[in-house]
Amino acid sequence: MTDLAHLTIHQAGALLGQRAISSVELTQAVLERILAVDNEVKAYLTLSPEWALAQAAEADRRRAAGEGHPLLGIPLAIKDVICVEGLPTTCGSRILSDYVPPFSATAVEKLQAAGAVILGKTNTDEFAMGSSTENSAYFATRNPWDLDRVPGGSSGGSAAAVAAGMALGALGSDTGGSVRQPAALCGVVGLKPTYGRVSRWGLVAFASSLDQIGCLARSVADLALLLGTIAGHDPRDSTSAEMAVPDYAASLTGDVRGLRVGVPQEYLSAEMQPEVETAVRAAIDTLAKLGAEVVEVSLPHTDYALPAYYLIAPAEASANLARYDGVRYGLSELDAPGQSLWDGYGKTRGAGFGPEVKRRIMLGTYALSAGYHEAYYLKASRVRTLIRRDFDRALEACDVLVTPTTPTTAFRLGERLDDPLQMYLADTFTLALSLAGLCGLSLPCGFDGQGLPIGLQVMGGAFDEAMVLRVAHAYEQATRWALYPVLAPRPLQRAEAQNRRVRTGERAEGIETQ
């Protein structure tokens, strides 16, 4: 019997198309996998099995009626910063522990229109602020390749779910690397589209000049399919681009002959785990053997991306998160007798936000405050221009740039929690691209000595996802990296499994500490 839970979307789609399996069978297999392993991995914050099976049955009916979108009946996971009508959207935060959005994100609506099956909501660092998913207010997600290690973040729940056979694909969000970095650490593929490519309606805002919805999957062709489905202009998001969506599948030719692949020297000379450098250099050699022309390029302001990002993103976050005031939704401590409204705001936000979110609100508020605005926020915004110009210049000479996605493979749980700067360094290779607003993806390019996956980052120009996917696909076809971990399931006891089916119940207990 085929292991349905570990199929790629395209493999499952082929079986569905031949009527060899039904979506209900496929969805059931993935739900069983979740029950078998998510007790250990903890990828899902909210699981919706009954609804998933109902959606699967509907997909089977649609197929019987003649529909055949490649996502019809495919079970997917959604990061919990993206709204799905009727399912809790917590953003990994206490302040939204009871929030149930009355609408769905445009990206989710598009997946649903195609017939995809939504399994549930995946864990995230609180408001997507973090690089390990340990900043979730509920629990840390663990890396399926080594349960003592982090899955990366902030889309760690989505990456772990895809890696462990608990979803065939997933949506995430990427502000400074939050799709690419966990994809690298979990050995899956993950794409951050160009700023403006995908509507952000229904994505809870973190840093509005940077945030973008992205996707995670087990093959580059699956990424192309997911992107083609969710991309496009949306009148409800004024930052979404009015540009036609190309046929991304058509770009997957397997041919990179004559393409110019740029290797930014600043990335390969940076401090990193030696095995990461070896694997990435080998990947570059592979692309050369496939006929690409490898060009050395320079992105001279690379070292300034991290300090610029950690002023700009918190500054924007401090403004965006001002909306959590205990009035319209979320935790509220406004009602205590004799308390001023002012004190009520402070209490609501002090109780509702976790340490990393508070840290970034403080940092951003400081960077925007009178007397410091020029020295910090505006200075960082000028440096951002220099970083954009670096990319413009490098991409004049090349079709794509390739680098490592992360300086190290997955680190141990807890290892960097007490040192924010060390944690921020996990994003050191992904931040610059986000500041420039361009597109990039991460795909597996090998393993370190401990069997942990290594990610290769392929970066491209604005709205040139087709080129990035083409190069990644050609590399993927020429190599054979196992795309999922062997995870010994510890099957739940039947009674325990019943309780775990909807994780919201469990969560509610865990957070009553006030």
């Binding site: 002023l311 009035v327 840290r359 400081y366 200075k379 220099l386």
Partner: protein, 98 residues
């Protein structure tokens, strides 16, 4: 440069965040070291460089002012902590020190 306790408390009040004493001390240390790290931006001469606030071309987005379907009132209010007469209920704004 180390931030003073008063600076941290001032920022917390601007951000409407009630912090514990322990948090004030922790953020004083951590924000100071992050800001020290950010000082390296001042190695670059950016006097002649414009800012990037968005990577998009700066154009006002306009649309026709037409009535369109929107969320139902009951759905909008469904997540509110306190509702009265189809409105969000808030404590008095113009009383005491606000």
């Amino acid at each position: 440069m180390k931030l003073s306790l008063a600076q941290v408390e001032h920022v917390a009040s601007l951000a409407r965040l009630a912090l514990t004493e322990r948090e004030v001390e922790l953020f004083r240390e951590q924000l100071s070291s992050i800001l020290d790290y950010a000082e390296r931006l001042h190695d670059l001469d950016t006097d002649a460089i414009p800012i990037t606030a968005t990577v998009l071309p700066l154009e006002a987005i306009v649309r026709a002012d037409r009535v369109q379907p929107s969320l139902l009132l009951q759905d909008v209010l469904s997540d509110a902590p306190a509702v009265e007469q189809n409105c969000f209920r808030v404590p008095p704004v113009f009383e005491g020190e606000a």
